[in-house]
Structure formats: C-alpha cells, structure tokens
C-alpha cells in the first residue's frame, strides 16, 4: 500500500464502506425482527446486496486512487451475487412451502398465510411434477 493516497480517496472509500456496512447491518437486523421465515427472507436477499455493492465500489475506488490500477474482480463478485441470491432464496422458499403443506412448521404459516394453489388444474411445482412440455420437464426432452 502506498502512502500517497490523496485525502479525498480516503474520504470516498470510507463513506462507501460505512454505507455498505450500514446496509449489511440493516439486512441482518431484518433477519432478527421480521415475523416469520418468508418475511425474513427479504432482509438478506435485498438490503445486503446494496451493502456488498457499496463495499465493492469502495474497493474499486481504493485500488484506482491509491494504487493506480483498475480492478475488475469486484464486478465479477457482484455478478455472481446477483445470479446466486435469487436461487438460494427460491430453494429456501420451496422447502418452506413443502414443510407448510406437510404440517411441519411448528410456528404456523406466518402473517401471509398459506398460498392458494394456482388457478386451473395444476398445483405449484413444489407439490407436483412439471407437466410435459414445460421448462422443468426432463422426461419429454
């Protein structure tokens, strides 16, 4: 680390890191205080993405202003985060739906209740195999 970083760089980077930390903290606080599993899922999937984003921008700015190089790893970290966050949230939600239907959720369904089945003959994909010709149908391939 070179000691020649301008004071403005320190200021910008500090602001971004503090902003990032604040959002990560709010996301974690949401995990504690929201009423049931499905609401708690919203905290970590959203409030923390901007938290991490701000820290990553801080990292890019730091390397540019203090070391004089452009780093691109941060971009890749955010891409992987945006691709994986919805998938893990979806898996947690599906397990929750399954456990709700099985009556395994001891604390009840939470304020949103149990979801209605979709209109028409088909059920949700957690409870019923995908029909032929739909995206998840591997038998028809």
């Amino acid at each position: 680390m070179s000691g020649a970083a301008p004071a403005s760089a320190d200021l910008i980077v500090s602001a971004l890191v503090v902003l990032g930390g604040a959002f990560a903290l709010i996301g974690s606080w949401g995990l504690v205080r929201l009423p049931s599993l499905m609401e708690r899922l919203h905290g970590p999937t959203k409030a923390t993405t901007l938290g991490l984003g701000a820290m990553l921008v801080g990292s890019v700015v730091w390397f540019q202003l203090a070391e004089g190089v452009w780093t691109t790893h941060e971009l890749l970290v955010s891409v992987f985060l945006f691709v994986t966050a919805p998938i893990s949230a979806n898996m947690i939600a599906k397990v929750h739906l399954h456990r709700l239907r099985q009556g395994e959720v001891s604390k009840g369904a939470g304020p949103a209740g149990t979801p209605e089945p979709p209109p028409g003959a088909a059920d949700w994909a957690t409870h019923e195999a995908p029909h032929q010709g739909t995206p998840g149908d591997f038998v028809g391939d």
Binding site: L34, M38, E39, L41, T72, P86, P111, A112, H131
Partner: protein, 162 residues
C-alpha cells in the same frame, strides 16, 4: 456447421469477458485462453441446453440498467420497512402472477428480477408453467403490485426474448 461450433454465441462472449475480468489483465494470452474456454465450454454443455433462445441485446442492456436502478431503490425501500415499520402494520402477501412469457430462459430472468427488486421474492412456479408464486414483504394492494411487476419487467422481457 456454425451452430455446431458456436451453439450459444452469447454464452461464448460472456465466458470470454468473464475470463478477462477474472484475470483482471487484458493481454493477448488472457484473451486467447478466454476464447478457448468461450468455444469449448458451450460445446460441451450444449446437450443440456439444446435450444438457442433468440435474444435481442440492445433492449437487454436497457433492461439491465432499469433492474440495477431498481435494486438500489429496493434496498432503501426494504431498509425503511425493516427500520421503521412495526410488524403489526406490515401486510405480507402471496401473489399469483399469471405469466405471458413461455421460454424457460425468459421466465428464469423474470423470476430472478422479482427476487432482486422491491420487497418481493419469487417462491415457486406452477406445474403447468403458467403462474409464478411470489411472496411480497409489504403489499396492501396485491392486484396493483402484480400489474406493476408485469408492466415494468415482463413487458420488457417479451421484447427481449421473442
């Protein structure tokens, strides 16, 4: 012949760009290795992804901009709910969104967008592939919420995947 060699040109380009970004150094060697991966990986994974969805890249870039902006807005929105709205005033709801999109790639992008933006997480798809189950953190007006998501994201995705 071209289809056999480059089953997914978009994926190939993405792999080259990601390789260069990961090495964080644009030299001939990096680019060359990136191109080798960009050609080989789609060929070996093509059996699991047989169709090539038609994607229009210019509207896709506009969509990316809108989604990134909405993610920033969503973060402030959800942070405000977490900090200031007591649980008794919170109105969480399940939304059943009828899908106009039919291609698996388009539905995946739509569901992912919903999970990343204001107070909604996509939870399941119907077995017939025509409805999406979404959980909303705070939706006093579920019908309005559904209309908003369909107009803002699904209409644009229909332009991109067609």
């Amino acid at each position: 012949m071209m289809n056999r060699l480059l089953p997914h040109p978009g994926l190939s380009l993405l792999l080259v760009v990601m390789w260069v970004v990961m090495v964080s150094d644009l030299t001939f060697g990096t680019l060359f290795l990136g191109i080798v991966f960009g050609i080989l990986v789609p060929i070996f994974t093509a059996p699991w992804w047989p169709e090539r969805p038609p994607v229009r890249f210019v509207p896709a870039l506009g969509y990316l901009g809108i989604v990134l902006w909405d993610i920033v807005v969503a973060n402030f929105h959800v942070a405000a709910i977490i900090l200031f709205k007591p649980n008794r005033n919170l109105k969480p709801a399940w939304l059943t969104i009828p899908l106009d999109l039919t291609s698996p790639e388009a539905i995946t992008v739509f569901a992912g967008t919903i999970s990343l933006t204001p107070g909604t997480v996509s939870s399941d798809i119907s077995a017939c592939g025509q409805y999406l189950l979404v959980h909303a953190l705070h939706a006093p007006d579920p019908a309005g919420e559904i209309a908003k998501v369909k107009a803002r994201y699904e209409a644009r995705l229909k332009e991109i995947f067609r």
